[in-house]
Symmetry: C2
Subunit: 216 residues, 2 copies
Amino acid sequence: MTITITAFERSPDGGRGLARDTRVRWALEEVGQPYVVRPVSFRAMKEPAHLARHPFGQIPTYEEGDLVLFETGAIIFHIAERHAGLLPDDANARARAITWMFAAVNTMEPPILELATAKLLESDRPWHDQRLPLVEDRVRNRLKQLSIRLGDADWLDGAFSAGDLMMASVLLRLKSSGMLGEYPNLAAYLARSETRPASVRAFAAQLADNTRKPLP
Amino acid sequence: MTITITAFERSPDGGRGLARDTRVRWALEEVGQPYVVRPVSFRAMKEPAHLARHPFGQIPTYEEGDLVLFETGAIIFHIAERHAGLLPDDANARARAITWMFAAVNTMEPPILELATAKLLESDRPWHDQRLPLVEDRVRNRLKQLSIRLGDADWLDGAFSAGDLMMASVLLRLKSSGMLGEYPNLAAYLARSETRPASVRAFAAQLADNTRKPLP
């Protein structure tokens, strides 16, 4: 059955991989599944046809026959359950990999999103300069804890898993902040993730989709 | 095998159910599994023994034989996978229920946590009064989208699932804000969730654990 995902018609970052469809492309590349991308304009994202697929009017969505999913965590878990390569066979190791998926989106990502919001949506507010260090310190608290847990391991729990894919995808948002440089093992972890062949292919595909010449 | 969860020795809300162990108790009650609670002090949460279980120094954790998990999403998914009552049998319906679990923690909860942070940690900051309405509006955007999707249904996707349990647990944080009253179907959804017998038992157990008389 064909897998179709939605992505921004034009990604706000020009295709540098911050849009969340990149995570899904990466997961599909890790398990060797082909996919089709349906680009969606910002206008179409708020229209009934897309809202039926994604109640929060965002991308990506995932369609496979009758199944329609949203939320990158759920989509990547669905892919990982059906194809080898993203979750270990051992039941306990599998449960721990799923734990890291949730830790990525529910413990690490909220302060990172708050930082992005502070920078993008509150940059012209009078409190911006004074408040930013507070928000950055909340992110640092989490990075420090994650850095201690990772230690000198390559991946969060033994072999690379969907938990690492999600965690690296979340840490990616901090790249431009320079903050990851304060935690060399996390910077190396992200670099290790980004240089996986599947990741390289996913980012290249995302960039290619965002740099196609417009139709004449 | 005995299931042991950790919880605050004294919950900051006095046992009203906002601490995250409530979600896990609720899930265990839904599937009829007994559990043991090990209370953890704020000091012990930052010590090596607890950090080995939970790298971010929080509660709850979940122990069952050799398995140690953290993150409520992962714990509840683990419970739901092993015991009937929280995930539908049909593969597509199951994937959609998991989608709502992720939507609860990664789409709904981040702005709700940001609101809690603004109220709790930034209440004495000069920008507090001016900034609060912005944060509230971000929460309202999500509530509105969720309200539209729920419509007049009882649950988010057919029968009650772990997705509803997570979503109701997240919405619970807004109860004191009065904001849910603006979306009557969401207020009714939360009330419907809270009056489930399993939920009532979980909240009662959490309250009882927090109102025990101190040892003489």
